[in-house]
Symmetry: C2
Subunit: 334 residues, 2 copies
Amino acid sequence: MATPSTAGRPTPERIFNALNAYQQTAALRAAIELDVFTAIGAGANTAAALAAKTGASEKGVRILCDYLTIQGFLTKEHGRYALTQESAIFLDRKSPACVGSMAGFLGTERARSIFDSLTLAVRNGGSVWSEGDNTKPNDEFWVAFARSMAPLTVPSSEFIAKLLRAEEGKTTKVLDIAAGHGMYGISVARKNPKAEVVALDWPAVLQVALENARKFGVADRYSVREGSAFETELGSGYDYVLLTNIFHHFDVPTCEKLMRRVYGALKPGGKAITLEFVPNEDRVSLIMLANTDSGDAYTLAEYEKMFRNAGFASLSLHPVPEMPQQVMVSEKSA
Amino acid sequence: MATPSTAGRPTPERIFNALNAYQQTAALRAAIELDVFTAIGAGANTAAALAAKTGASEKGVRILCDYLTIQGFLTKEHGRYALTQESAIFLDRKSPACVGSMAGFLGTERARSIFDSLTLAVRNGGSVWSEGDNTKPNDEFWVAFARSMAPLTVPSSEFIAKLLRAEEGKTTKVLDIAAGHGMYGISVARKNPKAEVVALDWPAVLQVALENARKFGVADRYSVREGSAFETELGSGYDYVLLTNIFHHFDVPTCEKLMRRVYGALKPGGKAITLEFVPNEDRVSLIMLANTDSGDAYTLAEYEKMFRNAGFASLSLHPVPEMPQQVMVSEKSA
């Protein structure tokens, strides 16, 4: 994230860059919106060709692409732009791994406006955003999340499917709590034709999960439960309960309450599968401070204590390869 | 600015970071606003001590400082924060080189809101901001600039004073066009007790320049001309005309028009001193696209042509040490 200070006399360059960092967000969003990466991938590699293809002004598209070149998202030689390997894989809409949809959630005006009051959030120790209580539905926000962020889950959802030995094809009952786009449960169901998945979330969000279940051909083994993870009847006898990126939204008593409900819903020997960013001593959950009333990034020691209080005797940690996330597996005693 | 891609399989991490880069701006602004760096410099180095000193919540200030640690603006060991060398020099208000005032201009809500319509600016090839015409006064914007950005000019204004051999103490008449905070002309006057400076800018902005002239003890050799650099009578017989960070705001014909007026105002053998970021083949003036109707970052070849059209036969280039800026010196034939 931060570039190391250049050698020699200290300069305020990095401070200057950080105060202007919002421009990086604006530039990448503009390029995704104008579909510049797809156009370059299709061979429109000069400012003139890009202007013709995207309907933007030649001067405008040149300045934007030069900035993206400096930022490392494009290369430029003899007036011709080219995609970097990263941009070709993740920003060209023709690539199956394209994550351009993330711009529908990350760095949106709504996301940015929440950070406008960061100073106040630091004073308060929690969000000043009126919708920061994540025990309540917040359809617009979470539907945007579900629609935009699915591509980013590929590495971690495949890793979880592997951890659950989905490819062995045993009869398996999975509960996906706060399923969102549903990709974690769907990934298990795709790998294991005998897996049945129950997804829990707010009604509007579940529509996105159901769309994805149909899209990936697992809708016949996919059912939903509408409502709050803290109040809705969860069902019982699950082999696995998936808790992906949920605990960081809540304070400790709320996390423990949820984990006790999970313990009750698992069959003996069943496992709670938690995906989180688990920091070491130093925590980095700025977004949680700005976005939520009471969330935080908990350390492994804190998770161990919360899960123990909820009935789980042990916890094993599994880092997701090449992603800054960890999976924690907690087994209910048989 | 951009961190190089990590080795191994490509990941969307840098894309993710760029879409969230606006958070770097928000975090640094919040820390400056809460005066966290000054508090740490004064010994409040735990979250609890910082909370007491800044009036923020302990949780809030811990999360903010942990994020700043990740970004490289602080260090943290055993729960105690410390300033980096850079932060101690440039962000502790007790340091004479503090640039914290830049947060009064860079990354402000106003600055950010202009980038909200970057996609449109790329389509248009120029700002959609109603105040993007820099031939008109725009008091609020330029007064904020003048008040906030003076600290950043120290290296380049000292370099210009040296180029002008101010320390030789010859009688010198200097015109500072679009003077802003006035620091370029003031720096010459401080080094040369026989220098007389005339500053030109919009009336409200000149108040800031006059304040600075008084502050640095050169007010008796400092006079002002109010109005547009394109219309106001400039006077004549100048040894030097300073044109610092002005051309990038305008299109080529407007730049040439200004430079012709400068040529007329110089005495024979006098010099036009231009400070700019002069890019090579690749240009990076995204901020000009978002902010101005018709500005750009011109290359050296373009400046040579514009200045030649305005009457200057030659141009010499002098990079400012350790800054990404260049000074161009153009002499009027004797």
